[in-house]
Subunit: 288 residues, 3 copies
């Protein structure tokens, strides 16, 4: 039975030895784990993106998979080290700094335990205070991946709602207009991923083949205003044309077929990038 999955995410990059030292520790305490990598290219200290990438992937992994996510600007401070068990049965080991926010909101957490950084750590690592990824997180993560009993035996359970949250914006539908934000990019391709679920799109009476009015604002100032086909995929429009579509997380997204929307229009991510979407009725003039 080879089913002990350990998935690592950090902002360490892969150019030095940090991630490999973590893997060595994991295999030393749990030689039979299967190690995989979510990404190590999270922008340094970007807790939001680390949180989102966990949400993007965690549900595609078997129950019992252990994620270790180390984006930890507060290493050495009194921020807690925790392990959460999701409602779908995966574990996430991480500093409690907001990294769990997206999974907490959209997947759900079942149990959260605190790790005692003095006691539950790599033996003989006590003089090291800056690499909890190696000395604390992957060490505990590998032990849980090896045997879930280790999780059960962690003594200190903490309330699920004590976990540090992020300011995650809620989309809403008002007088036929959907209001949302640009959560994150499909990085290599530059498509904008919004926080607007397909259900809300349907609720607005929009279906594939409709034309949408899409407006993007930066802190309230209009930055982009155009009409787009709501297609199934990029291939529904010619190369170089814009298209709205349902992305792989079943949320509304905006792209240019075979080009980079984010770069072409200079649009970023976060709650300061708002998007408004409405259906253009046939024959309607959308100019104000």
């Amino acid at each position: 039975m080879k089913n002990k999955f350990l998935v690592l995410q950090t902002d360490f990059g892969l150019a030095d030895g940090a991630v490999s030292a973590m893997q060595g520790v994991a295999y030393s305490v749990a030689p039979e784990v299967t190690i995989s990598h979510l990404t190590h290219e999270i922008q340094p200290y970007n807790i939001h993106d680390a949180s989102y990438r966990l949400f993007q992937t965690v549900q595609y992994w078997p129950a019992g998979t252990v994620f270790v996510s180390v984006v930890d600007p507060g290493v050495g401070s009194n921020r807690r080290s925790i392990v959460a068990k999701t409602s779908a049965g995966q574990y996430i080991v991480t500093p409690d700094n907001g990294t769990l926010a997206y999974v907490a909101k959209y997947v759900g957490l079942e149990v959260v335990k605190e790790i005692n950084e003095e006691k539950n750590r790599l033996p003989h690592s006590e003089e090291s205070h800056t690499f909890h990824g190696r000395d604390v997180y992957v060490y505990n993560g590998a032990l849980i991946a090896d045997d879930e009993v280790y999780f059960n035996q962690l003594e200190k359970e903490v309330p699920v709602d004590s976990v540090v949250q992020l300011d995650i914006s809620e989309p809403h539908l008002e007088e036929g207009v959907i209001h949302g934000v640009i959560d994150i990019l499909d990085i290599r391709f530059g498509s904008l991923w919004t926080n607007i679920p397909l259900d809300l799109v349907k609720q607005a009476g929009i279906q594939a083949g409709d034309t949408l009015s899409v407006r993007i604002y930066h802190n309230g100032i209009k930055h982009y205003d155009n009409q787009l086909l709501f297609g199934h995929s990029f291939a529904d429009v010619p190369v170089g044309e814009t298209v709205a579509y349902t992305n792989s997380l079943i949320r509304l997204a905006v792209a240019i077929n075979q080009q980079n929307f984010s770069k072409v229009y200079g649009i970023g991510t976060g709650n300061e990038w708002q998007i408004e979407v409405k259906k253009v009725e046939k024959g309607e003039c959308t100019h104000e």
Copy 2:
């Protein structure tokens, strides 16, 4: 028996969660596969390079290995999804868009089957139309890696010669001059890899230690003209000197010892970059 190799190649990069979601799907349907990565840094939409990288690597893997290659600018169009079994026994799961061309030409395909994108896909993924890497390709690839019977049971066999081809240029020898093209780069080091096999070099009467006249043309316009030693390796010339050699695919290549030939001379790849090579006879004056 741990011998279920699944090798992934995409143009997704590793900075977001796409490749990890694919791995989660693979492990969910086939927990015992061993996942490896060819590269995820194929330039977006560059089918040629994806095709070449498969040719560069597939033969070094055991029979039964399953490659999943997803460079898929036509996702959502009516391009086919296929699985090819190579003459050497590896499988390649990919959109049928040219990705198989180099392997088809230089390794050979034995059987090709079409994947039914509606039926052979990750359950509950039907609202997702833009991530066939996760929902179709890796799902099918993992099932084949887990048990080749799955491949045999795919119902729709298609003719090997129906697979989409690329315009792969043929080198030839004419009056002592070898005519070829620069296929691709040894990326990190900037060496030029040509389509000229060592056999053709030998046929031109060239052997290690000879001096070669090397001319490189961009769409017929001469871009580089020099005499180079045909050595065994970079170390046959001083640091900073140019050298011609037989690369790891047993084809003619051109490099600068410890420098980047492609950058120094501004030379790219593709059929528009032609190369002419001939042996310089002792005492010959090569100036025209």
Copy 3:
């Protein structure tokens, strides 16, 4: 018993097929090895950094782990190919070009054997002279990972002190001032890692909470001069402030909390970047 770890390091990058071809060879000769990656982003030809990254990681891996490190500017020359067994029981397969220097000095080597490049190589690879990573190093590394008997049967043992060394600078304490060099960076975060072990810091009477005078010289010319807290971690100072701390290898390091010290102050690595550290006594005026 799944405990056959093979760890790869190169300067090949991951953008082409080189590293995947190496993995295919490894699995072909030893299907049960577990392959992991130290890094493939060593700057081309940078033997020093390859050597340091092995030192940074090797001790965190179980005895019996086989590292294959291929930074090999001299491929095709008469530099030796060797395998070293460390004092802690890991193996390192590498060209003998200085790559072993840090591990030899700080971990220790127990036995070193030479690989016969003609005899101990991938069958049918004799026409390839430029990719010993695939044809020689990973081939031998995988066989050792599969069964240590293969190492024992390599015939030619060579003296441990015949291994090529690098000019590794020794730190020293003189009249209360510690003299060292900047060995390498914590790449993603830009912290400077010195060659000064915590023991020497303690010997200088310095403890956490002290203020240090830190001076950095480039080839003897003063480049940076400031007073820093010697803290446990970055979080001991506000964001944007400098701090000295003990890094994860238990050596003195210098950082800016959540910024990049190396970039902000334009400081590099190597023996030409010297650092002087002394304790600032309370009430002392450090201006000269």
